[in-house]
Structures are given as C-alpha cells and as structure tokens.
C-alpha cells in the first residue's frame, strides 16, 4: 500500500485490521477513511451528485475568468485533465507550490540545481543537510526511511559512522535535537551568513561567523563524493527570493565535492503538478493560459486579492484554512467549486461541493514523489467518482 499523507509516499504500509508502518498522520488517513467525508452540495444544501455536477458545469461554462487551484493531493492523471480544462477555458492555473517550494522545483527542472533521488541518498549520502525544515513533524519518516538512519549501498553502518547530519534552523526544533554524534546543529539568524561562511572557507579564508562549524562541514563534505541538502521553507524565506547566491554556493561546493538538492515539500503530488505544467508551458505554477505567461500576479492568492477572477475550481485543498483570512474571505465574492474527498472549511462556503474518492486509498493513478520518482498508487478500496472522472466530465460539459 502507498500512503499519500505526505511527499514521502511510503510504500510499505500494511492494512490488516490496523495500519502498520505508517506514521501518525499517514495512519490517520487510513483509519478514518470514512469519517468527515464531503457530500454533494449546492449553496450548503445536500443534493444529488448529478445535480451538483450540472451546477458546476454551469459555473465553469458561464465563467469569463476562471482559476483552477489546488491539485497537489490528486493524481497526475487528474492534474493532466485539470490543465486541459484550464487551457480550454483560457484560465489561470496554480497550486500550493507558489507559496511553498515551487521555486526550488523550478530550479531543479531547469537543471540549475543538481538533484538526485531519495533512494540514491539512502545508498550513498554522507553529509545530510536539513535546512530550514523540521522534518520530524512535517515528513515524519523522512529521516528513518531515506536519509540519516537507514543503512544501504555504500553506507552500511548507517547513522553511527557513515552519515553526518547538519541541521540548520532558526530554533532548536525536534529535528535539531537529533543532531548529536556525527552531527551539527547550526542556529542561524540569517541563512545568507552561513552560506557566506562556507564560501569563505572554500576560498581558504577564515569566516567571522560560524568559523568552527563551517570548517568542519566543508571538511566532512570533502570526505565523501555524495552530499545532499534537504531544503525546506525556512531556506526559501532565508534566501529572501534571491536564489543566485544559493546557486553560486551549490556550484562552488560542487567544484570540490558533490552536493545535491532535494526540496522537503509536504504535498504528496506537488512535484507532479510542477513537472506536468513545466512540460506543457515551461513554467511550474502561477500560469495564465490567456496571457500565456507565468508570474507573481497570477498566483491564486494574488488573483483573489486583486479581484481578477469570477470563479474558482478548487481541487483537494482548503484555501479558507490555509490562506490568510483577509484573502480567503474574498472567496465569498466569487463562484467556487470544490472537489474534495473530505468536509473542510472551504466546503462550508463553496457554491458547489463535489465529493471524490481519496487518491491512493480509493482510486489508483500515478503520483510523483518530491525527488521526481514516479509512484504507482495501490488502492485497497473502490469508490467512484474520482478526481479524473469528475474533471473529465466538467471538461466535456465545457
């Protein structure tokens, strides 16, 4: 069984009465599969599914400026249909990666950042950076499945001798508490200072800040031919939108040893959406099919804020919960269609709610793990309609 709780897409889950091998979040998805499910609704009233579908078709048909948003928790097949729909309607399309780690995925897809797969990391990585991410909570099994703890390939002695952990964060998080033997925790105020310090060490100069840590880290990285940075949102905010310095840092380190980068995104199929849209348009998110370009102004929160859209098709996400309230409240000014397996705050305010099957549990398909590996889902229940069939019929209606 594949767990679609986060971007780890753990493939060793066993369901037999209980749920084995899944973390707390993953197990919750399996255990409470039938709880809190959404019902087909129009303006808050439960109706037939067919009726709700017709209403959704009408909203999309009548919309002049449609936005398609979400899609990170659904399958590649459904994303493909949604992109087709957006193209047909000349709509805006965006997912959560515009305020998550989309920028890093774009750099990886443009081959500006060297990347690798998590299986390679398990077999080869020596220095493992966790930069600006508390994976103990966000991707609980990341460290034990792929990076620091497991033994494999060239790293048979695991964390005891064959790995070196570096946790970079602004506070002593739970992940940072694991940095004990063969490890360093670096508490930063400004991430650029640490990048500067490491670059200075590479130049053979003594840095003013992090002198001891930077020298040790560079020494450790030179010991092996495979090192990896798992970068999270903390790194993105730390770089303040200027990726050149970080790219320069990775390039310089790669002159003396090998350093790869993998984003620590949370959504199970965010990479899938980014990759699909990149293949079709050359951009990973925030794309307008009308203007045939991407940009900050086409990000879903920005479109809402500026009142640029008159309808939104939201798939598998909960913007009322995740966006700032001042922006989220503008959802009431536009027509909203929500396709989601479960009841959410957005379902309470949406004009039309279309319940769908849970990807991975009730419907199959493909997802792309955060490192770019394709994972075939193995559903253990059967439920229709799924995201693919719902979006396909909406597409037909248009």
């Amino acid at each position: 069984m594949i767990c679609t709780g986060c971007s780890c897409l753990c493939d060793d889950i066993v369901v037999d009465g209980g749920v084995r091998n899944a973390c707390r979040r993953g197990a919750g998805i399996f255990r409470f599969v039938n709880e809190g499910r959404a019902k087909p609704m129009i303006n808050g009233e439960v109706v037939d599914f067919e009726k709700a579908m017709d209403a959704a078709g009408d909203i999309i048909g009548n919309s002049e400026k449609l936005a398609v948003y979400g899609l990170d928790t659904t399958t590649v097949e459904a994303q493909q249909k949604a992109i087709e729909l957006a193209k047909t309607k000349e709509a805006y399309i965006d997912d959560n990666s515009s305020f998550c780690l989309g920028d890093f995925v774009e750099l990886i897809l443009k081959e500006e950042l060297p990347t690798t797969t998590l299986d390679e990391v398990r077999n080869n990585a020596y220095v493992v950076f966790y930069w600006g991410t508390d994976v103990y909570h966000s991707l609980s099994r990341h460290m034990s499945r792929f990076t620091y703890y497991p033994r494999g390939g060239k790293r048979q002695r695991g964390y005891e001798e064959d790995r070196f952990l570096v946790v970079v964060d602004v506070r002593r998080s739970h992940t940072a508490k694991l940095a004990k033997k063969n490890a360093r925790f670096i508490e930063v105020g400004d991430d650029l200072e640490l990048i500067d310090a490491i670059l200075k060490v590479l130049d053979g100069k003594a840095p003013e800040k992090f002198a001891k840590d930077a020298v040790r880290i560079v020494k450790e990285m030179q010991k092996a031919d495979f090192n990896v940075i798992i970068g999270g949102l903390g790194l993105k905010y730390g770089l303040k939108g200027d990726y050149q310095q970080f790219l320069e840092f990775v390039r310089r380190v790669n002159e003396v040893t090998n350093l790869y980068f993998i984003p620590a995104g949370c959504h199970p199929n965010m990479r899938g959406f980014n990759q699909l849209l990149f293949e079709k348009t050359g951009h990973v998110n925030r794309y307008s099919f009308r203007d045939e370009e991407a940009g900050e102004k086409f990000a879903f929160p920005k479109l809402l804020e500026d009142g640029e859209i008159d309808a939104a098709l939201i798939v598998g996400t909960d913007p009322v919960n995740s966006l700032p309230f001042d922006i989220a409240k503008k959802l009431k000014d536009i027509k909203t269609i929500l396709i989601d397996p479960r009841q959410s705050l957005t379902a309470e305010i949406a004009d039309v709610v279309l319940p769908s099957a849970i990807s991975g549990l009730e419907t199959g398909g493909t997802m792309i793990r955060i490192d770019g590996v394709k994972v075939e889902l193995a559903p253990f229940l059967e439920k229709k309609p799924d995201d693919v069939s719902i979006i396909s019929s909406l597409l037909e209606a248009v």
Binding site: D12, V14, V19, N21, R24, A27, Y136, P150
Partner: protein, 156 residues
Amino acid sequence: MPITPMEVYKLLPKTNCRKCGEPTCMSFAFKVINREKNIEECTPLFEDDRYSRQRDELLKLLEPLKEATETGLIVTEDLCVGCANCIVVCPVHAAEDPYGSAAGSGPKIEDPIFRLEDGVLKVINMTKCRRYGKNRILCVACRENCPSDAIRFLEG
C-alpha cells in the same frame, strides 16, 4: 523521570531488618527497581503505621513500574508521531532484518521488538531486546533518537 535506587532507599525503613531476604535496604531498593522483588515484600513498611506517609510516597514513586515492560521501557503513545527512528536504529533489528527495518522500511520479520501500529509505536516482542534477561546490555539507541521523549527507560 527515571527512578533511582537512592530515591527508593530514602523512603524505605532503612533498618536493614532482612525480613525481605536481602542483607540491606539498599540492595532491596536495587532489586525493586530491577523488578526482581516486589515492594510488598518489605513487610515492616506495610505493617508499621510509622511508615504510612513514606509508604504512600513510595507507592506513588513506583507507579511507572507497572506500565514499564520487562526491560524498563516505557512508551508514551501520546508523544509519539511515528517517525520510526527507534525501529531503524535498533541494533537487533539491524542484525535480524537487514532488508527491512535496517534499510528504513517497516520491519519484515514477524516478531520485531517494536513496530508502528495505527501511527504510534507498539512493543511486540520485548524478549529480543538487548536489555532483556540476565546478561543484559543497557542499550539506549531507541531513546537517544526519540526527540519527543516518547521513549523512556525506568533507570534513565
């Protein structure tokens, strides 16, 4: 918090009466923590009213002994997020399950020491643990790699 033999000793009668079969109260305290003796075997503590306050305090102190497994391991499920660090670092798992838990996946052997069930750590077979039995090794690999302190040992 771990329980130390000295804490137990302080609350015992400290008369070295040998009624429990041990030469001193201190050695009795050690054996109580190792669960080789029951606290009830200290008869003066329960018969003499002079010790009633001490007795209540001692019974409260020894409360965690009941929830601990044979090796002194206590898992607080409410604190566990299911990261599986403990399962992967366990040296016994590494030796017996090289392609399962040693390589990061869920245990592939039938009776691992512990595994994740319903999202939290459950003890399955404590007899495999290096801390089990007479010639035990005081290994703390699982506790050291649990940042949320969901894993504790009685003796610290």
